[in-house]
């Protein structure tokens, strides 16, 4: 029913690139919110209000997807025909998996450490460093625009998903430490 055929980048009039100008993203988003948000239609007919909810929901989804480096990478790959959003099983190289296991073990140890806050911070820096390097690798591969390079970019995304999950587990641990 909603006629939105453009991809998220086109919808927001942004160039299709991984090095996204986040400032521009939030400016475009605000400009569109001012036109589309249901509050702009509160005194109009039901139909228009419903249409506005649909458009705004699409806008919010677009902004949320493009804002975060991981989902932005996944979305770029999806535009190239590689869907990493709904993969359930992936193969990754043993080196990377070993390293993940080590990181995970150090996370588990933190709960019993004498200074968990400092250790958590240390781990966080390590993880952020890893994430940054994966982003750079992704962008390099993505820009090459060949099928094999895109496949390499997809491997980066899968690794980023691992690290992202670890990041969320760190947050959960942080919450738990606060609550004790």
């Amino acid at each position: 029913m909603m006629d939105i055929t453009q991809n998220y980048f086109e919808f927001l009039a942004l160039p299709v690139t991984y090095q996204l100008d986040l400032q521009a993203l939030s400016e475009r988003s605000r400009a569109l919110q001012k036109k589309l948000h249901p509050d702009r239609f509160s005194h109009l007919s039901d139909r228009e209000r419903r249409l506005s909810v649909q458009y705004t929901a699409y806008l919010n989804e677009a902004v949320a997807t493009l804002k975060h480096p991981l989902s932005r990478a996944q979305y770029l790959l999806k535009l190239e025909g590689i869907d990493t959003f709904s993969e359930s099983q992936v193969q990754l190289d043993p080196m990377f998996l070993m390293q993940q296991m080590e990181l995970r073990e150090s996370l588990e140890d933190i709960a019993d450490a004498t200074d968990p806050d400092a250790q958590l911070e240390q781990l966080r820096q390590k993880v952020e460093q890893e994430m940054k390097s994966l982003r750079e690798q992704f962008d390099m591969n993505y820009q090459q625009s060949t099928p094999s390079a895109h496949e390499a970019a997809a491997v980066c995304v899968r690794k980023m998903q691992f690290i992202d999950k670890l990041g969320r587990e760190m947050e959960a641990l942080e919450d738990k430490l606060f609550d004790e």
Binding site: S42, R47, Q54
Partner: protein
């Protein structure tokens, strides 16, 4: 500004056509109503000049009493005098056991576990009790503003879940109030504060009311108030400070079990002491217990010690929200204090220590929420078509579905911007399975049993297939009020099931209709008349906005054949509208809406293009 006209009602209101809209702060302890008058938002007082309406409802054999005179009888008549009903909104009987001090009421449980309060006037749901408070405020507004209300913006704690929001909206419906929007209290406070200061940048709103705590992190930018993250505790507030002190009283008195009236008596004394301690270092309080009189000295230090762990809870939530917002502590430019409980000196000190800056206390923390809501209501009623102000909110708690093993699978994470629509696909786990239970939950925990159960429904008619072969798509849609709708569909057959989520502890539509009838003792004719009027208003709205749309964009977006067709359809609805057949008008509105849908969509698309005009060209040239 051609763009702005899209959102205009069709005619710019003349001063004498201003629509009356109010902001209502439906608080745990006190409630307020505010309105924009002569360009300024102010709270409205009752005949006696008081602005705060104590959120207390007393049922007597003669009728219902709301406010101060009800509060005065709270100790004498505890079972029929309902205080802090907001704490019961959208809750099940099981939840209430966790709310200490609230157990003084006699609850009767009905289907679905929604608690009803036993009073001399019969069993009352928390929704009905809240509706009494809203009715009183509505009457006050009508008397002060001298006219019928177009609608109201009602504030809710940002941390309210779907069940609590729905219960609030139901209460408004019972009170005969058209809800323009449910607005989060901290956002309302930010509006009152932000417009006042013309602020830009990141602000934190620390809102500690009688029964709820909220922390919201917002970014203000050219009239747009964007909530980045919100957190808190919908069962923590100044009442808990009173309870902690009352508990201490009880220990000093010998610690026996208390009866209902005495618990009220002690918490009222505790509240008095708490209030005195905002100005003084120590207070002597006289208590009567078991026929004996006793004097106790309470120092501020002692009090601070009693409430310290409660304040710590709020500070933890602040830290979490900053992290969720992706904002560093030093980016926060201002901290705004809202809610009467922020008057407690220890609260101010701890908040200042955490944020490393003095919080703003210059706006009356009791009134600021109602004032912000009134400003928003004025805009939503269409009185200020040129206003740039826009409030963008987030979902406070993650929404999910129950999966195998009692686990909650999140579909929409907390702090996602709303409105939002999202879908997830599930599959059957047994061969030949023909039905699937959809259980919608809200909360952050992994186990369904630790989350709030919002609704359960069954999708039937799935054709028998091998396990894992059926594809069931469950779609969530959250509107701008934060209210959820869920639909489920089996993709290979198209079997569909859709519900507006009515919380497990909510009232269903029939119950509300019955209560409406009972409360107004509407004659059948009145109900019919009301329905007719509602349909006519909807028809007028549609006709006015279409007329305006054709005038503005007809030439550029429609062919002459399309214009002719729409005009013809509009003529048909106009004729129907002047009849007295509500069903026919409703049908006519549907037909015309469908016939004009494509036009509305084209206008949306055009307004998107215009909003981003210039950008695309720059960008494409720059990055090519």
């Amino acid at each position: 500004m051609a763009l702005l006209q899209i959102a205009e009602p069709g005619q710019s209101p003349e001063p004498h056509q201003r629509k009356l809209a109010v902001g209502i702060d439906l608080g745990t302890t006190n409630s307020l109503v505010a309105a924009v008058r002569s360009g300024e938002a102010t709270t409205l007082s009752d005949e006696g000049g008081s602005h705060l309406l104590p959120s207390v409802v007393r049922y007597t054999e003669q009728g219902v009493v709301v406010g101060q005179s009800a509060l005065a009888q709270a100790s004498v008549d505890p079972f029929n005098t309902i205080v802090s009903v907001k704490r019961l909104m959208g809750r099940g009987v099981a939840d209430l056991k966790g709310l200490q001090g609230e157990a003084v009421y006699r609850f009767s449980e009905r289907d679905g576990g929604m608690p009803f309060l036993q009073t001399i006037a019969g069993d009352k749901s928390p929704v009905e009790v809240s509706a009494e408070i809203l009715r009183t405020l509505k009457a006050r507004a009508r008397a002060t503003l001298e006219g019928e209300l177009e609608g109201a913006v009602i504030t809710v704690p940002a941390y309210f879940d779907d069940a609590q929001r729905q219960a609030t909206k139901d209460a408004a419906q019972l009170a005969g109030i058209n809800v323009l929007r449910l607005l989060n209290e901290p956002t309302a406070a930010a509006v009152a504060y932000g417009l006042d200061q013309a602020a830009e940048g990141v602000i934190a709103v620390y809102d500690l009311g009688g029964g709820t705590f909220d922390i919201s992190i917002l970014r203000l930018n050219k009239g747009v108030f964007e909530v980045l993250a919100t957190g808190g505790d919908s069962a923590l507030g100044g009442d808990d400070f009173d309870l902690a002190l009352a508990q201490w009283f009880l220990e000093q008195l010998g610690g026996e079990e208390v009866v209902a009236g005495e618990s009220r008596y002690l918490t009222e004394k505790a509240r008095w002491v708490k209030e005195q301690l905002t100005e003084r270092d120590s207070v002597i309080v006289d208590l009567e217990h078991a026929g004996q009189k006793i004097s106790l000295t309470v120092s501020r230090e002692l009090f601070d010690g009693l409430v310290d762990s409660l304040i710590t809870k709020t500070i933890r939530a602040c830290r979490r929200s900053l992290r969720d917002a992706g904002v560093e502590l030093d980016e926060v430019q201002d901290v705004v204090m809202v809610g009467g409980s922020t008057r407690v000196p220890a609260v101010r000190t701890r908040v200042e220590q955490f944020f490393q800056r003095a919080p703003r206390i210059n706006i009356d923390p009791d009134r600021v929420v109602a004032v912000g809501a009134a400003i928003q209501a004025d805009i939503l009623a269409g009185n200020k078509p040129d206003s740039e102000m826009l409030l963008l909110d987030v979902l406070p708690l993650s929404l999910g579905l129950e999966t195998m093993g009692g686990l909650a699978e999140k579909v929409i994470h907390r702090n996602t911007s709303i409105p939002v629509a999202r879908a997830q696909e599930f599959t059957t786990y047994q061969d030949g399975q023909t039905a699937m239970m959809i259980h919608v939950v809200q909360g952050e925990r992994e186990l369904v049993s630790d989350c709030r159960s919002l609704a359960q429904f069954v999708l039937r008619g799935i054709p028998p297939m091998a396990a894992g072969a059926a594809k069931i798509r469950v779609a969530f849609q959250v509107d701008a009020d934060g209210l959820l709708g869920v639909s489920a569909k089996e993709l290979s057959t198209g079997v569909e099931s859709e519900i507006q989520v009515k919380p497990s502890y909510g009232l269903d539509d029939n119950e509300i209709a019955d209560m409406l009838k009972a409360s107004y003792s509407f004659a059948e004719e009145d109900m019919l008349l009301r329905n007719l009027r509602e349909q006519q208003v909807e028809a007028d709205r549609l006709l006015a906005s279409l007329t305006q749309a054709i005038q503005t964009d007809g030439e550029s977006l429609l062919t002459s054949a399309e214009i002719a067709h729409l005009t013809e359809q509009m003529g048909i609805l106009q004729t129907l509208r002047d009849s007295s057949d509500a069903d026919a008008i409703e049908q006519g509105v549907k037909v015309l809406s469908q016939a004009s849908d494509f036009f509305a969509a084209r206008r949306m698309d055009q307004s998107i293009k215009n909003a981003l005009k210039g950008h695309s060209i720059d960008e494409i040239e720059g990055d090519a």
